[in-house]
């Protein structure tokens, strides 16, 4: 039996409860409070860059250089893709889509039967859209994935627990669990190159300039002009992800 007075016990329990509640509130609200204390993203964005990507469907020839360059530059494991090319062949009866090995080695010729039915055909490069309202960031249980003020959606390789929730949440299928590192992985818009004043690898090697990358805050950049001309589309607009990958000449059949 305790020798403390009932009052002392009650005070102790009250303090314990209050302390636990405070700790709980702190744990829950730590991130937004710290973010607010550091200052809003909007101000740093205005002072700095606001990157976007543009894909011009009419220019892509499906050579696969971008897929190869990305794979080499970012040491992407075989069979996994930070970017890929899809080939669409549209016929009156339906649409034929394929992406052999992500289009890494180009495409074999379409067979004659399909070619004779085709009314339209084109290539669609795909990559992470670095969405301004990314569902992948929303669902990460430990906050390992985040959006930088300049618009890069990145994964903290030291913090990711590899739960794959972000892979499930991405409407565009651009994420995967890196087979060698066992963490979430995806296109980073070659952050390591852009931060050194270079362009992403895929943009650098594209022979037809189907891929473009730039700063929306730079009025002379191609991407800023594309944005302003307002002739662009995004993939799955109904998902409301505020995708920052703008497509020019995107056919209706593309998902």
């Amino acid at each position: 039996m305790t020798t403390q007075t009932p009052n002392a016990r009650r005070v102790f329990l009250q303090r314990l409860l209050a302390g636990s509640a405070a700790a709980g509130v702190f744990m829950v609200y730590r991130q937004p409070v710290m973010a607010a204390l550091k200052g809003a993203n909007e101000t740093t964005q205005a002072a700095g860059h606001d990157y976007a990507f543009v894909v011009d469907i009419s220019r892509c020839i499906g050579c696969g250089q971008c897929v190869r360059a990305c794979s080499i530059e970012n040491e992407v494991p075989e069979g996994q893709y930070r970017t890929w090319i899809e080939r669409y062949v549209v016929t009156p009866d339906g649409v034929h889509v394929d992406s052999p090995q992500g289009g890494m080695h180009g495409f074999d010729e379409v067979d004659e039967a399909l070619a004779s039915e085709a009314i339209n055909s084109f290539f669609v490069p795909k990559l992470c859209n670095h969405c301004a309202e990314a569902p992948c960031i929303q669902v990460c249980p430990v906050g390992a994935t985040f959006r930088s003020p300049e618009g890069f959606v990145l994964v903290d390789p030291e913090h990711c627990i590899g739960c794959s929730y972000c892979v499930q949440a991405c409407p565009y299928g651009v994420r995967f669990i890196n087979r060698e590192k066992h963490i979430a992985d995806k296109c980073t818009w070659c952050y390591h190159r852009v931060s050194q004043g270079k362009l992403p690898a895929c943009v650098t090697v594209c022979p037809t300039q189907a891929r473009m990358f730039g700063d929306l805050n730079d009025p002379d950049s191609q991407v800023a002009r594309v944005l302003q001309e307002d002739n662009w589309d995004v993939l799955k607009p109904e998902a409301h992800t505020a995708s920052m990958c703008l497509y020019l000449g995107l056919p209706r059949v593309v998902v």
């Binding site: 744990m27 339906g94 649409v95 590899g162 739960c163 794959s164 929730y165 499930q168």
Partner: protein
């Protein structure tokens, strides 16, 4: 039949591999058993359903045994299991998954406190009777509280009732949030529905009740004890009621999606008539839902007794524990079969000895029963004395 006028089966290159496999199928299954068993215990402690008085303790011990292993499938699944504690240190609160660590651990604490309150009289008795190391273990279990007066028993009862009462919404949270994890993913047409948390919760309760029935029947059979037929009747009645709600909600979801005939149906229709036809239409619905539905209806309306009741109750319960397992499989894996390209399906392959293989899954699913068995030999679970045979 391929979705959206696709001429060939197409899926995005990264979709060749299914990321949430058997471990994520059995995780909600195990937490569902925990929630379901706890609800049965609470039906007595909170709602005073007299028929369940003799199985209330048994249900709590079962809930605890299942609960011990709830996190194990997740540890097997994580790409970085040694970083699992990040979920405690840096919970990202926009993610439903971030609450797992706190909800699960607080629920296990609640369960342990409830178990202690229910069993402390026995702990005190054993501590006073036994000597040596076992005696010390019993002493530790009493947490130093050695008196059991009518006054303290009254306090125990009030606390037990209170904990059982808050335990119900807490169990609902423990399992409902899993439904939210799936239901809130707009990228997955099969998962995304606001009904998902309640569907998961109702099927969890169904699985818990059915599993308790099977365990009860097995234990009574092995220990050659009498069956409590009034209790079985009442239990089957509740099982039927919860299953009606569960089956109705699962069906409603599909009827809605089909009637809406929108984007979701464009991929779900081909999914259910294609890759998921066997496990969903034939397995989950026709065999594992319709048959137990009719069986339980028969039990509840015509009130069979004795061996007849026993066989029918066991049949219905066995089919329903399988139904819920099939449901988890069909939701978790089925949803991932749909390509986000809307133009085809990917494939699921069972692995056996791999990290998310059948063998580890079976071992993890069996472990709670082993623990339950060990516990039942030490403390009285069904009846007044532990099973020492």
């Amino acid at each position: 039949m391929l979705p959206n006028e696709s001429l060939v089966n197409f899926f995005f290159p990264n979709e060749a591999e299914i990321h949430w496999s058997l471990m994520i199928v059995i995780y909600p299954y195990i937490t569902g058993l925990v929630a379901g068993a706890f609800v049965v215990s609470s039906l007595y402690h909170v709602f005073q359903i007299r028929a369940f008085e003799n199985i209330a303790r048994f249900a709590l011990v079962a809930a605890f045994s299942f609960g011990l292993f709830a996190a194990v499938p997740l540890l097997f699944h994580l790409g970085q299991p040694f970083r699992a504690l990040n979920i405690f240190f840096t919970p990202h609160t926009t993610s439903a998954m971030s609450v797992f660590g706190y909800v699960y651990s607080s629920y296990m604490i609640l369960l342990m406190i409830e178990l202690w309150l229910v069993y402390r009289e026995y702990f005190i008795q054993k501590a006073q009777e036994t000597q040596g190391i076992p005696g010390r273990v019993w002493k530790i279990l009493t947490l130093g509280v050695m008196d059991y007066t009518p006054e303290s028993a009254r306090v125990d009862h009030k606390l037990t009732t209170f904990l059982a009462a808050i335990g119900i919404p807490w169990a609902c949270f423990l399992h409902g949030y899993v439904g939210f994890i799936f239901g809130s993913v707009k990228a997955n047409a099969w998962w995304a529905t606001p009904l998902q948390p309640i569907i998961f919760l109702m099927s969890a309760i169904v699985s818990g009740i059915a599993m308790l029935m099977l365990m009860y029947a097995f234990i009574r059979w092995r220990t050659r004890q009498a069956y409590d037929f009034p209790m079985i009747q009442k239990l089957m009645g509740f099982l039927w009621g919860f299953f009606i709600i569960d089956f109705f909600l699962e069906g409603l979801e599909i009827v809605y999606v089909a009637y809406e005939h929108g984007h979701h149906w464009s991929v779900i229709g081909p999914l259910l008539s294609g890759p998921l036809y066997d496990t969903f239409v034939i397995g989950q619905v026709l065999v594992l839902s319709v048959v137990p539905f009719l069986t339980l209806g028969y039990i509840t309306i015509f009130k069979p007794w004795g061996k007849g009741l026993l066989y029918l109750a066991n049949l219905a319960s066995l089919l329903l524990v399988l139904q819920v397992l099939f449901m988890r499989f069909n939701v978790v894996v089925g949803g991932q079969l749909i390509s986000k390209s809307d133009r085809g399906f990917t494939e699921f392959h069972f692995e056996f000895l791999a990290r998310e293989g059948v063998v580890p899954a079976v071992i993890i699913l069996s472990a709670p029963f082993v623990v339950f068995y060990i516990i039942s030999r030490l403390i009285p679970v069904l009846g007044d004395a532990p099973d020492t045979e």
